[in-house]
Symmetry: C4
Subunit: 383 residues, 4 copies
């Protein structure tokens, strides 16, 4: 559509604007096949935990592995900057809201220690977990340390990662080189466009993280104007995945990352084309999470342009209950796997690939509901 | 419309987004013909009460019958699990909000008793009411008991019911068989798509309940991502009804169920194509309702994925006043029949079939109004 | 657009969704020509005061006439039911909110007295005002009394008035007959569609009131589902006016009635095609208004289906200041005439007919602004 | 689109409805070229401070010049009406909200003194700043004084400025004459349409201010109905700039003015086609701002139709920190230049001209987010 002059823009859709139509035939949720394959690794459930210091530590990585998913440990976060990150987290949790961003900025100025990277990998492996650490494009120098210590997979992640970076200083990095040298799968993100996903796949990524500017704890869109609503981002990147597979024969799964908070969000992300989801807030709200009921984004510590602040989410249930239920609330934040399987069953999908084909509606229901509630109050008060 | 990649989605409309245009000729509301026929049964008013335990008990079924409508008793709810459900309801009403869902889950684990099914049917019949009990697809085994005890109609209802259910365990059920064996009309739902409604009609339903994920007490869309805004759902299912009638000669009425709270909602549901409406919250808010001013959804008791919680609605008027007025408030929640007749008259419709043809507008008025109020406050406070 | 099945609906626009583009050439606001002609009557300003008992009494009619506009007195309201309506209004103002609608219903059950109709007309005339009384279609029997007493114009008004009313009781009324027999101009409304406006013009109306379900004090859309957003309603009825003029040679002005609260609303109503505006709340908020800072709709007193309740608006300024300024607030509720003239000047329009041609944009600005504010608070609180 | 009858309207987009897609290649933010040229003047950063008395005084003009931008001093504001404007500002800041507009109206009735115009210009020049004063079209008589005193640039600004003004009193002014006579660049605004921008360029403007009715402190749209959402306004005026350059060979930069509050807004304004931005509230919230944490619009003092009132913004950071960071909050209101450079880098733009070509999405994200939050609260409270 034309927004003015000769300037075109495309309408993009957030998951909140979408809904799924039930199928004509329902299938038994118990038959739902939901495993996620990333390179040679197979996970029982298509759920990853975000590399946020409030969500994932060594213990979470071990527990998540036991429960069938994949938790990513921040390779440049508190766990690899401090011997005893628990104390640091206590400081962050205790800080008044108005000064928490400067405190986080300060605490993340402590250098990353290669020794700690290796130690965290070993701790996870010793606990029987899947060791997956994330690094920024500028921190790829740490990949070798993590791999040598036994990491099972590597994540290269920034707010918006591209396969090429042009600089007059000649400090280009090359994702292809990283992928080809790394003996374990490299998951790369975040991207949110067809071209962005395609070039990351062509660089050799084992999986692609999709999501720029869609999440509640991420203010990329406000600070930089950047962002693509998640429904459109997933569908675009899924098209890139399919085209890339047709060309190369290699299937690179798409992981929806950002802004997913309910079972409905998970179902809709898959329906838009995702092969799996990465979640932060729901993981951070578990009893096992290191953030003690709080989390903050990876860009909160940015020295010049912090994005996302400390969010209080409480500690509401065990990870097992959050993933597998039973839910004791109706707000959609527990029993994600049960919800995914029931959603698939209701839509008539047995596999995730079938779920990627179910009918989607543009259905601004929450909005209308909210308005209505507002109007009810308005009328109720006689104003 | 394309939401991304090759993924198409269709825009769906909620009733809140719609408004009706007055007709060029008005007709006398007193002339409005609004009877609803379901199989051999005829009801004076096209209003059904939802099979929610906070809304319908034996007394409500009798009163509703006397007033011309049809109240459905939950055949797998508190009335058929407990001898004295009043005590159980007292517990639910007294429970603090944060623990009410686990309590409801626990209380609904008490088994359904066939003896109580039969007794409730008899009590309704003895009171002169229309006995209509609802069962889930998994509870169809109880249908025979209810029919034998004298039930006038049966409802088979779940959040999203399909005519077929595929399972590796071979536990398929067959709605056709149920309908063909049952000597009284079988009302089936809920569905929300053309194909879904058509297959239910083809299975032999006497009426179809339309509505998945549109209601305030139902969080299906949030928990599972499932749902179709009610305006579109009704219009789609009405098209299936018309096509089915053209093919089979049998007219299967469409009952809009979910999210209807005002006279305007009723008028708009009919205008979209419904033959009748089913309501929960308005019935639960009557003096006669068993929930003492509270209600909860049929899926609130779900062991793994509860949807909908206890909603406080108060007890504001008698059922007669809610249905027939006079209204003593301007919020549209009283005198539904008066509103329907006046709405029909203003639109120039004498029959419900004519009302199904009046002009509809997409008119996001509440939204704008709400915003405006917000802006007024903003300006008024000088912020 | 298709909302589902074969059901079509048309998108309609409220004034809040519209904005006007400035012209390339500006004209001097002092040159703006804004007179309104209704039959043989000419008013200096295109502003009418609604026939609401909180807004218009004899004094208001006189003051409004002196200031160049037209205030309509409710011919079936408190002024013609009670000798001393001030006392009745005091009761309404003092009543607690929860019981005010039943009180209003009760107070309006007092019969209308023909003697009082004649007396009010005479009082207005003696004060030098323009005497215009409104009656409902069922109250047309009072027209003769008002005319005989010297009324200058008559308004026939209901929530939704049509030229024909079909009833099995044969109680049809005929607007044509009323218009042809009445020696003074008959203003008829409300309507909101092309066909509705056209048939009212063909019946002989001297002016047409446009607006069903668009106003804050009117809950027609909620109670009955009826309503057309005002921008579309005005544009449709203006098209009927133009077509009717082309056919008959007679120009019947369109008066936008309902939901107009700011100078921007007035400018936009004219730009959509209106020849004048009718306002309730802004008039009710003047020092001169009988409602002492409160108003209620004409349908609030409906015995069966009250619509609109008592709204508190305060008494903020004199009528003169509300119409002609100076404004002492920036919320657009004062100096309507100054705003209209400046708006016309900025759009390059010298006459109302030119203003009806300026560029309109669909511009959901208040909405976005509101949201943004909400988001600001969200971020500001660090939640 | 047709809004009704034969009335067409065009959908216009606000910046809040837009988002930018990251590029496939990222570039080093340090390489971003962001200088703004206005006639013979070059500014290191494309940021202008609005001529609001709460934002810009002599000291701010000097500081802004030192930091690379351009602050405009209101040539008809408190600085040129009063010897010691600090005292007057103290009065405004201390006034209760309900009476602040009448106070501002009164204080601005004090005449403008030519002596003070010249003195403010000299003070800025003596401090090493860039002296740029703004006048209304009716105040162009003061331009000569300012130029004679050494002004580097002149701004001619009103809510909606056109190149021609028609009046029966013959008081036409001619922007062409002003531009041709003035020896320093004349920046003219505000406009918001293709034709409006084009005629201002043809009149000889050195730069064009774009924005009518888009800002939070400006209630032009509410009071007059006038306004074009900023995304569309910028894109339309940018098209006029390009067409004008193609015809005349002269490049006239477009400055987006109004409603810009975050780094994201700045990035999106440039992406829509702007060459620079003018900001009020962010400047008024600096330690150096004369308003002591408050600001008010240029039209707040309007005698008949005040628009915009006193807004409290606090004094949160130094101008240097607001422009260049580091940000200590994640709400996007600090480090505008860092945000612009990082946004450009993420979009793959090295120059502002490249940034004007990046992919734009229509992405109503804040809205959905807000709604969702609302719904969360709704569910959380169990209502």
């Amino acid at each position: 559509m034309l927004i003015g002059g000769k300037r075109e823009a495309r309408r993009a859709y957030g998951l909140d604007e979408l809904a799924l139509a039930p199928g004509t035939i329902a299938v038994d949720p118990a038959d739902a096949q939901i495993a996620l394959e990333i390179g040679p690794l197979t996970f029982d459930i298509p759920v990853m935990a975000s590399a946020m210091d409030g969500a994932v530590d060594v213990g979470m990585a071990i527990t998540m592995g036991r429960l069938g998913g994949l938790a990513v440990l921040n390779g440049e976060g508190l766990q690899t900057r401090y011997e005893t990150p628990e104390e640091i987290i206590s400081q962050i949790v205790a800080e008044p809201m108005e000064s928490v961003i400067p405190l986080i900025q300060k605490l993340y100025r402590e250098p990353v220690k290669e020794e700690l990277i290796a130690r965290r990998v070993r701790e996870i492996k010793e606990g029987g977990g899947v060791a997956c650490l994330s690094f920024t494009p500028l921190g790829v120098k740490y990949v070798a340390v993590a791999v040598e210590a036994g990491a099972d997979a590597i994540v290269i992640q920034s707010s918006a990662t591209t396969s090429k970076f042009q600089s007059s200083k000649g400090s280009d990095f090359d994702l292809s080189e990283i992928c080809s040298k790394c003996p374990v799968p490299v998951i790369i993100g975040n991207c949110c466009t067809y071209d962005g996903a395609l070039t990351i796949m062509e660089a050799g990524a084992a999986a692609v993280l999709v999501g720029v500017g869609p999440g509640a704890a991420c203010t990329t869109r406000r600070v930089l104007g950047l962002g693509v609503p998640q429904g459109t981002a997933i569908a675009d990147c899924a098209a890139a995945r399919d085209d890339y597979q047709a060309k190369s024969g290699r299937y690179v799964p798409i992981i929806a990352d950002g802004g997913l908070r309910t079972g409905g969000d998970v179902c809709k992300a898959i329906a838009c084309g995702a092969d799996g989801v990465m979640m932060g807030q729901p993981i951070a709200s578990t009893h096992e999470a290191p953030g003690r009921g709080h989390h903050w984004g990876m860009a909160t510590s940015s020295a010049g342009l912090p994005r996302g602040t400390r969010i209080k989410v409480g500690q509401n249930a065990s990870l097992e209950q959050v993933l597998y239920g039973p839910a004791t609330s109706d707000n959609g934040t527990m029993n994600f796997i049960g919800a995914l399987k029931l959603g698939m069953g209701s839509c008539g999908a047995t596999t995730l690939k079938e779920m990627q084909q179910v009918e989607i509606l543009v259905a601004p229901a929450l909005q209308t509901e909210g308005k209505r509630q507002q109007f009810d109050q308005h009328v109720g008060q006689g104003k």
